[in-house]
């Protein structure tokens, strides 16, 4: 099992989520993060003084899938996340040893992604 961890733009998320859903991967988690990279910062002015932010808002997407599904997820993210401009982000793949579904206590790969009807 792997966790696909992607840092993407806000606008990129909806298309990614929608396609993942249709591909049968409804389960994922996101959070708001701030990142720095090549992308330039932004400078604010306040009563004469300045303040520069080198961090820009990004969305962090986490999706744990079976090894065989990793490439599908990565490709979907790359496909919709790309604008070609600096700041598109990165995708990382981390190993996962074990998974559990809290509701049932089930364990292992089958808990990773809900079945299609689960997409409801």
């Amino acid at each position: 099992m792997k966790m696909v961890m992607a840092y993407i733009r806000h606008e990129a998320f909806e298309p990614i989520r929608t396609e993942l859903l249709t591909l049968g991967f409804p389960s994922l988690t996101i959070s708001e993060v701030k990142g720095s990279g090549r992308q330039k910062g932004i400078t604010e002015r306040y009563r004469g003084a300045e303040l520069t932010n080198y961090l820009r808002p990004k969305i962090k997407l986490e999706c744990v899938v079976a090894d065989t599904d990793v490439q599908t997820i990565v490709d979907t993210v790359l496909k919709h996340g790309r604008t070609g401009a600096v700041g598109d982000g990165k995708v990382f793949v981390l190993p996962v040893d074990e998974s559990y579904r809290v509701r049932t206590g089930e364990q292992g790969e089958e808990v990773l992604q809900a079945h299609p009807e689960g997409a409801a």
Binding site: I30, P57, T83
Partner: protein, 452 residues
Amino acid sequence: MSLAAIPASVGINTIWVIVAGVLVMFMQAGFAFLEIGFSRQKNAGTVIAKILTNFSIAAIAYWAVGFAFAFGAGSLIGHKGFFLHGYGDPLKAFPIMGFSDATITSKFFFQFVFAAVSLAIVWGTTLERTKFGVYIIYAIVFSAVIYPIGSHWVFGGGWLQTKVGMQDFAGSTAVHLIGATGAFAALLHLGPRRGKYTVEGQARAIPGHSMPLFGLGVLILWLGWFGFNPGSTLLGTDGRFADIVVVTNLAAAAGVLTALATMWVKTKTYDIGMAGNGAIAALVAITAGSGYVAPWAGVVIGGVAGVIVVIGVLAIDKRLDDPVGALSAHGLAGIWGTLACGIFTSPRLATLNGVGHGGLIYNGSFRQLGDQALGVVTVFAFVFVLSWLTFWAIKKTYGMRVTAEEEEDGLDISEHGMYGYPEQFIPAPELVGYGGGPSRTVPPAPVPIPEV
């Protein structure tokens, strides 16, 4: 009609009554923000819908029947001026206000905003869990029947005022206690918010989401009180209302300081909410006496109210979930303020107002104090019974509170379909309205311009 024919006093008095009424109308914003500040983010928007709806219902109902019940001639209940129509000579139709030549529409407006204030007070205990329809139903009953009758007795020319001689210049009992009594009845049927008490029954803190907005509410209420008490003279010509402005302000100031001090003694912190509650409680307390007592007495009455509200809130919170402290600030303080007339009313002002007698400290007699107590008890009982039954009926039919899940999601989204602070709840990427590719991020073309 020739303007010359009209005495200057009509213009002067009408201007003052309308100015005062407009200040009192704005108290709706005060109550709204006091409640909003004491609510959690997920329940902030509903307060706006409630205030607008309740104020509107009261406007129609009080115009249709409420005013006639409250100020029309009659000892138990008034019965002139329904729809502000066909009442003949206003000075005779609404005798208790006959001493002022302000136009009847100005008096009506002034009395209506009082009714709306009393209604707003009712909901202080019901935040964050009440079904919206409850506000609608009770608002009708309250502003058409309960408040008009109760206030008629106390300052509409009813028996407590004219026969008993109960003193309540601007409504510590007639407006604030009546509202707080409705709030009490509602709370008994409603129960506490989820999570207010642990399974062991321990009270937990459910902090409101914005002290600044709470403070805005308090300051607006304080402002409004300069219409509330001084406006109750219904006269601008003699300039006496200015004395009442001063007494009112001194009382409020004392209330803030004593509440702050009391809380400091208890918790070693300068409690923001209690400072505000102290002001409100003091203003409520001085409402009855503002036209009857001397400035120094105002300081005492307000100061005591500041202590009462703190002790009241802390004690009540242990068993009853009253998010804004309405039971203490409007109920206990309203009772204290009404009784205080029995102690501090100056004989000179009692005579000037033509109601009751001087207080205990002036003539050593408990008579006025007794009359005040009688008034408090009857009004409380009357309003409590009617309100309790009304809410009982609502509970049995429509229901009083939302489901546990709706309460958890918050009233804004579950009752109103949208959060009060959408960006605090809706995931940012789901708010964005355009996909990632550059191709899709160009702004939609402007709508073609139609021929004119």
